[in-house]
């Protein structure tokens, strides 16, 4: 075998090593997962990933009792608001929650707010520290009135029109 072939083989082998390294890096790049943080475009409008269709904007009296937003009134996320649609809202520390809390006193999947026949209900998902509606502990799905504080760990939430 000629000297040239040997040199080419030698360099080709080094290239192969780097092809492995680079393809591994490529896989890692396309395999990034976990959580994606996106800025919310404007106050009140839902951000990416939240399946919250715009609530119907009727003007009849029935609709005036329907809450439109979920507001955080205490805790590290104080001031955050979420538009309410038809979809249930999962609250907790896990990244897949609709409202992700940075609250050491809340569980990963702490509580759930869901719409049942026009009424929003809160349900505790077996959290460690419990969910409180007003001053009473939530044991079973309980209707939430507008303005009643819902306490999850150190975070307090409220439904608003």
């Amino acid at each position: 075998m000629s000297e040239l072939t040997l040199t080419l083989l030698r360099l080709g082998y080094l290239a192969l090593l780097w092809i492995l390294v680079l393809s591994v890096v490529g896989v890692l790049r396309s395999d990034l997962f976990g959580t994606r943080v996106t800025r919310r475009p404007a106050p009140g409008t839902p951000g990416r990933g939240i399946p919250a269709p715009a609530p119907p904007r009727g003007r009849d009296t029935e609709d005036r009792k329907t809450p439109r937003t979920l507001v955080v009134t205490e805790g590290s996320l104080k001031g955050t608001s979420l538009a309410l649609g038809q979809a249930a809202i999962l609250i907790g520390r896990a990244p897949e929650c609709t409202l992700v809390l940075e609250d050491d006193y809340s569980s990963n999947r702490h509580a759930r707010l869901f719409l049942d026949a026009g009424t929003w209900l809160v349900e505790d998902l077996g959290s460690t520290n419990g969910t409180y509606l007003g001053r009473s502990k939530v044991e079973s799905p309980t209707p939430v009135d507008i303005g009643t504080p819902v306490r999850v760990g150190r975070t307090v939430l409220e439904l608003r029109r």
Partner: protein, 442 residues
């Protein structure tokens, strides 16, 4: 305000298969090149050797598809590439020295892969391992001390870290490494609060209470014990480093690193003052070319000359003379690769190790339970520390100690234990990457 959404995870087993084929290409390509350099033609048995390795790792791949579909897709290909390259370099040194270590190494690869498959199949959930925290502690320390027993303990090249039964010899410390990582993770996940939260602040460091210093002092004393009675610098360093690393990950307190490093420096200076074998290592490190130490430093110096003659692109596999270095197949396989694949090849190799460790630490971040986090972080740290100590030792960054390059260097016990480490990492990464059970709707 920002919105946090989870990005969908995919199993990515097909990606792993493609990368595995490239990895096998690296192993088989190296074998072919060595054959060309040694005999001027492709060795006839390349298909058998390459096929053997392929059957082993594709077997692991198939098992992963069934028992851990979400496991990290790059850990196995990287392991395969490093293991395969190590096998070929050992084979290449065999050709030069007329030994047959590569066959034994291939056999140990098969045993290691078998153990990895067994771990993956038997341990379906890594949290089960947390039940055996104290069992692991007892077994780990017993294995560590086993070489000190009469009759079965063997003293090879000054270090008493082997046990021998007839013709077989084994380093129980390698298995003890895994058991102790298990123990540290299980112990610290329960003890971390008192180690992290209590104590006074001083100069920006949260200092622990005196009685919380107990565990780190015990770990320090034990690793010094290994150094004194088994005369093995590497194992002693590895255990203490592992403990401090897991302690730091568990508590997030920089003060433990400071305390650990101070204890390490104190121990190192003490050992250097007292023990002649430590003094000799330090002399070799600082003055390898001086007449007084040149005899002892022959190995290190030859390694440096080897890497120098390799240069940027290397002499080519099978074209250099790495066989001049004593124990080139174990302690100095790093310089053998540096000589024949050059800086370009060594950097590729180091990057592969770096990515392997990164994937392990990423697994630790993704793990949902504290025990899994600490175990994955501890095991990845042992790989990182071994690489640093070996590569640093042969390139004279730090004194040479007797650790082995994971997967690369000749040594059955190390190969076996590292395949088990990879299996545990794959198991934890499967749990870490698997999407959480679907949300209940309605």
């Amino acid at each position: 305000m920002a919105v946090v959404t989870a990005v969908e995870t995919r199993p990515r087993r097909n990606v792993e298969l493609v990368l595995l084929i490239v990895s096998l290409g690296i192993a088989i390509g190296a074998y072919v090149l060595v054959g060309i350099a040694a005999e001027g033609r492709v060795q006839a048995n390349w298909m058998w050797v390459g096929g053997g390795l392929a059957v082993l790792v594709l077997g692991v791949h198939a098992v992963l598809r069934v028992v851990a579909p979400y496991a990290d897709p790059v850990i196995l290909p990287i392991t395969t590439a490093i293991n395969g390259l190590g096998l070929v370099v050992i084979h290449r040194l065999d050709l030069a020295e007329e030994t047959s270590l590569a066959t034994r190494q291939l056999l140990w690869t098969a045993i290691g892969v078998g153990a990895a498959v067994a771990v993956l199949v038997l341990v379906r959930d890594h949290r089960i391992l947390a039940r055996y925290t104290w069992t692991a502690a007892v077994l780990g320390f017993a294995l560590l001390l086993l070489p000190l027993l009469p009759f079965i303990g063997r003293n090879i090249r000054g270090a008493r870290i082997w046990i021998g039964l007839g013709p077989l010899s084994f380093q129980p410390g390698e298995i003890a490494k895994i058991l102790l990582a298990l123990f540290f993770a299980g112990y610290l996940v329960t003890a971390r609060d008192s180690l992290a939260l209590v104590g006074r602040r001083f100069l920006g460091l949260q200092l622990p209470r005196a009685r919380d210093l107990g565990p780190i002092l015990v770990a320090w004393a034990l690793s010094l014990g290994v150094l004194v009675f088994e005369r093995d610098l590497g194992t002693s360093l590895l255990f203490f480093g592992l403990f401090v690393a897991v302690l730091y990950v568990a508590t997030e307190r920089t003060s433990w690193i400071v305390i650990g490093m101070s204890l390490f420096v104190a121990g190192a200076v003490l050992a250097w003052r007292i023990f002649s074998h430590v003094q000799r290592r330090v002399d070799i490190w600082l003055h390898p070319f001086e007449p007084g130490t040149f005899e002892n430093a022959f190995q290190v110096v030859q390694g440096l000359y080897g890497m120098a003659s390799g240069g940027l692109l290397g002499t080519g596999l099978g074209e250099g003379r790495p066989d001049i270095i004593p124990f080139a197949e174990s302690d100095f396989i790093f310089t053998a690769i540096g000589e024949e694949l050059g800086l370009t090849g060594i950097f590729a190799l180091l990057l592969l190790y770096l990515i392997l460790v990164e994937r392990g630490l990423r697994t630790a971040i993704g793990a949902r339970d504290g025990f899994g986090k600490l175990l994955a972080a501890g095991l990845s740290f042992t790989i990182a520390l071994q690489c640093f100590v070996v590569a640093g030792g042969v390139t004279r960054v730090i004194p040479l100690t007797g650790l082995v390059m994971p997967f690369l260097a000749y040594g059955g016990s190390s190969l076996l234990s590292n395949w088990i480490v990879v299996a545990i990492l794959l198991r934890i990464s499967d749990a870490a990457r698997r999407p959480a059970p679907a949300e209940v709707t309605g």
